[in-house]
Symmetry: C2
Subunit: 222 residues, 2 copies
Amino acid sequence: MTEKDRQTEEKIFESATEVFLDRGMDGARMRDIAAHAGINKALLHYYYRTKEHLFNAVFELMAGRILKKFAPVLDPSMSFDDKIRFFYREHISFLQENPRLPGFILNEVNRNPERVRKLLAGFDLNNLWLQIYSQHKKELDEYKIDASMMPQIMSSIVSLSVFPFAARGIFEAIFEKQGLSFNSYLEDRKEFAAGFVINALRNNNTLLSNTEIKSQRAHKKR
Amino acid sequence: MTEKDRQTEEKIFESATEVFLDRGMDGARMRDIAAHAGINKALLHYYYRTKEHLFNAVFELMAGRILKKFAPVLDPSMSFDDKIRFFYREHISFLQENPRLPGFILNEVNRNPERVRKLLAGFDLNNLWLQIYSQHKKELDEYKIDASMMPQIMSSIVSLSVFPFAARGIFEAIFEKQGLSFNSYLEDRKEFAAGFVINALRNNNTLLSNTEIKSQRAHKKR
DNA sequence: CCTATTTTTGACCAGCTGGTTAAACTTATT
DNA sequence: AATAAGTTTAACCAGCTGGTCAAAAATAGG
């Protein structure tokens, strides 16, 4: 019965995903998950001992999914600009198919900060930055961007694609008043965000804050 | 006893704010709010009939606070660039003092989309955009920015300041690995984000997507 | 066909949840 | 000092929560 086994276990997992995604850990009820899967509540505890076990299984899969989306950006055959364009196209498309993911992850991490560990397990984002930086050192030097600015730049890039989904409800309401659809906003956004970032980085002189200029000077002295 | 009245009512409200802000509506317990205020649980119901009444009171005050921060941007004496610099300085400073606000609002709105109405009550953001746009038509024309791009631009501006707070836990963890503090990141961000946006908008030609170029052409024909 | 094993169920439970109530306490008014 | 009004409390409650358990149903192996 490994066959049927897997069927029910999958059914449970999918139902749990569904319910956790739109009610959160605190708001989700084991009864509702069971009902959604069309099975007895005790069966949940047979496959996943506790609510927390079940939640963790869902959370870890979702965390993995969202983070794996950052890896393809390391393809060395693309120029920096193309990489940014590629990222927004892929990332926003992915989030269009999983629109509740950002809100879910952000909320559960805020609610229980220890979960950051599980979220980032196996993904060394620092290293990702450094690799991107060294891969494109020439272009970035032209833009007068040094490694110390990577946190600001990387966080800005991610903000532009993830935030609209985290604030989806609000955005939808505002756009509705103007007769715009959230989805066409997102379609435009794939190109807009890329252009926005590329433009922001190009000719970056005016971007440098005082402290950053100071640290740049200090760097040059060595 | 209006004196003592107000004292307890305020104490309740503050405790409720505290507890709701870090546990959310579903995670907060009336007992915990009472304990935090050092009073009997029944007293909560004496001043605020139900949990939902109490929550709404908190939510509406917080929503008001966060939205009021967008108004000063209408000061007509500032140039567009200065306005952006001013906005990030003020807005990030405000969020530094209320770091849990974005996560709270976003989560509660996602959890219960009807709350958007309460959030946006009395604030016509569309109108804010239009006013900004018409106040700075000359500068924006130079940048080749037309009204149809306002949703993309405004949402980008907000993303850059709000998202780091919504994802605070994750950012902190990543920065920690690099020996950076979230707070110094935020201090830098006030200037960085402003420069980033100003640079992105300046010389905006490359920003235009195909569809937007088409709609611009169509616009010129008239 | 019988038996051993695994899967599924219904009934149940202790503890917690938001909410109520009647009585005690405090304060203001006369 | 007496009384009326507002404030605070302890005790209580029905309903829900995650979780258990013994028994029933389904399956596999011989």
